[in-house]
């Protein structure tokens, strides 16, 4: 005899396991006084060069480290290791995003209390990373001037879940006839009020503003500020 189907209420977040881990990571980062920043972008945005320049600029003043997610190669990690900051590779294999558990494993053996900043470079992908909290305090989404001003409209979710948008390769803006106002409109359409910074890691354009933004956000979160950096009063907060 067939029994009639019945409904059982469950109410369970499918990514609960990741969310719980991410919350515990966030707690560990805060307790240790390390400000965790994640970076997401498409492949080819110049994310690694941007991070390389950021690490190099911060290193004389702060203790910095980076985790680099990559599908297979370790080119990015090798490149970042030139900055002398501790860098660890997270090889994700066929997985197109980082998860909190991978971050937790990659941190094994590191004393977080000895760090001021931890950068987590996600796999180049604007879709999948948006679902996974990594315990970061600040999520950057990067887009380059060569990708088109409507990129945010194509990937609204990742732009909506990010805290800061960075437009990279500004040195090429004129050559590719990049329309900054149109890019701003696209970003503001999917994330009203989003702070946007324009940088060129190659020429150094906008890097000071970025570093000041970073220091200000860290100070707001209760972290110590490196004395060598002057903090603009309100300019860096959104």
């Amino acid at each position: 005899m067939m029994s009639t189907p019945r409904l059982v209420t469950v109410r369970e977040n499918v990514l609960k396991h990741n969310d719980v881990l991410a919350r515990s990571l966030r707690g560990r980062f805060r307790a240790a006084g390390v400000f965790a920043v994640s970076l997401v972008s498409s492949p080819g945005t110049g994310k690694t060069m941007f991070l390389e320049k950021t690490l190099a600029a911060l290193q004389p003043h702060c203790r910095v480290a980076a985790l680099v997610g990559d599908l297979a190669t370790d080119n990015d990690a090798a490149r970042l290791a030139r900055t002398a900051a501790p860098v660890r590779q997270i090889t994700t294999g066929t997985i197109c995003h980082l998860e909190a558990a991978m971050v937790e494993r990659a941190l094994e053996g590191w004393n977080l209390a000895e760090l001021d900043f931890l950068f987590i470079e996600n796999v180049g992908n604007l879709v999948c990373p948006s679902s996974y909290d990594l315990g970061e305090e600040l999520r950057l989404v990067l887009m380059s001037v060569t990708e088109g001003e409507d990129k945010p409209l194509k990937y609204p979710t990742i732009f909506n879940t990010a805290d800061l948008a960075i437009i990279t390769k500004m040195d090429l803006a004129a050559a590719v006839e990049f329309d900054l106002a149109a890019a701003q409109r696209s970003i503001q359409a999917v994330r009203p009020g989003m702070h946007v910074l324009e940088v060129s890691a190659k020429t150094g354009q906008g890097m000071d503003a970025w570093l000041q933004f970073l220091q200000a956000r860290r100070a707001e979160s209760g972290g110590r500020i490196a004395e060598e950096f002057s903090i603009p009063s309100k300019a860096a907060s959104r």
């Binding site: 019945r6 059982v8 469950v10 499918v14 909506n160 359409a189 009020g193």
Partner: protein, 114 residues
């Protein structure tokens, strides 16, 4: 594409739940899915069948309830559903608002068992 790993977690979760209910058979999983979850419905439905293969959930259905993105409008002082996730503005007064109240769901709400 991360929908397959998400589908696998759902199937595992449902199998555990079914075991807790004394080994009942799961006929369907009911899921609430928001556009800001980062999960694509079609990819998830496709992945679901793959994830079910060879498990106690083989042959079960995934029933997806698509949720709207709901924002809070400071001018109207009300929650409003967005017309498009490419435009975070109040559909009534056109004020821009970043305050998302709903739309990130990726939540199993019920299991149909027998």
């Amino acid at each position: 594409m991360h929908e397959l790993s998400i589908a696998v977690s759902m199937v595992e979760m449902a199998a555990e739940e079914a075991a807790r209910h004394g080994g009942v058979r799961v006929k369907a999983i009911h899921l609430k899915l928001g556009p800001l979850s980062g999960v694509v419905k079609e990819a998830l439905l496709f992945s679901y069948d793959v994830a079910c293969e060879g498990t106690p959930l083989a042959g079960s259905r995934l029933v997806v309830e698509e949720m709207p993105v709901v924002v809070y409008c400071n001018v109207c002082r009300a929650e409003r559903p967005l017309a498009s996730i490419q435009y975070f503005c109040c559909p009534i007064c056109d004020t821009a608002t970043p305050e998302v109240r709903c739309g990130k769901e990726l939540e199993v709400v019920a299991l149909e068992i027998e």
